[in-house]
Symmetry: C2
Subunit: 125 residues, 2 copies
DNA sequence: ACAATCTTGTCAGGTGGCTAACAATTAATC
DNA sequence: GATTAATTGTTAGCCACCTGACAAGATTGT
């Protein structure tokens, strides 16, 4: 994934943020952390990088002075339109010719496993 | 995994290195990078941390002066014996009660997928 | 034997993840 | 209405991963 993105000088999480803003429109950082499941601090550094590169803007929210709204810039949409979808690419390579039933089984096993792990974590907290 | 290891002040890769040295005995760094599939540079910083903590030693190899042999110290084996196996813990939580056939299918699908991805990477190189 | 090449480990610099602590602002409570 | 709580984003400090460049030592070619 990173190797696909490297020519564009983007890390994979930077790509995810760009995707969100390109498709869903402006969002405040709190929303983005919820959707991408990363910590506020992590997103803070990533937005810093994207702002520095001029791909997104960070605007104050009038309703709540604590919050900042992220919006993709013209340069950002430009870049976005030229980048191939790395997820698409990976899944086609990885799962080409796999029996659909087996693939479904694998997905079920894994999603159940993650669910159990999440439950376990919240329990012991 | 990291949450299990945090009380012992160990990162997960530090744990893997310790495991290797505790079970397989002394190894040079090249071997460790091969077995753990990490870059030389990555291992270099990790061995630095473990040496600083006094858990492993870094000795010059007489046969080849470039190489350095890693060996677990007494303090290292001590710590090792007190740490619970985080992998064991995770797999039992994650896959408890899963149908063995389904689990086998999932494993097969995933190992084939990684194989395809590895092949793809070496092809385009 | 000597030069060119390969290998091993380290360092510098970058990405991305976390926790903990902080300032600013908003929401709750009394 | 004033004090206390909670929320939002930033910063600092850590771990782990990578690439690229380097020095030192080992191999290979001629």
């Amino acid at each position: 994934m990173d190797s696909v993105l490297r020519p564009y000088d983007l890390g994979h999480t930077q790509w995810y943020v760009l995707q969100l803003l390109a498709i869903n429109g402006p969002l405040n950082q709190r929303e983005v952390t919820r959707l991408l499941e990363v910590e506020r601090a992590t997103l803070s550094t990533i937005t810093g990088v994207l702002v520095r590169k001029g791909l997104i803007e960070q605007l104050a929210d009038d309703a709540d002075q604590r919050q900042k709204v992220l919006r993709i810039t013209a340069a950002g949409t430009d870049l976005w339109s030229t980048i191939p979808d790395p997820i698409e690419l990976i899944t086609t390579v990885a799962f080409a010719g796999v029996d659909p039933t087996d693939l479904a089984t694998a997905q079920r096993v894994l999603s159940e496993a993650t669910e159990r792990l999440v439950n376990h974590r919240t329990e012991i907290k």
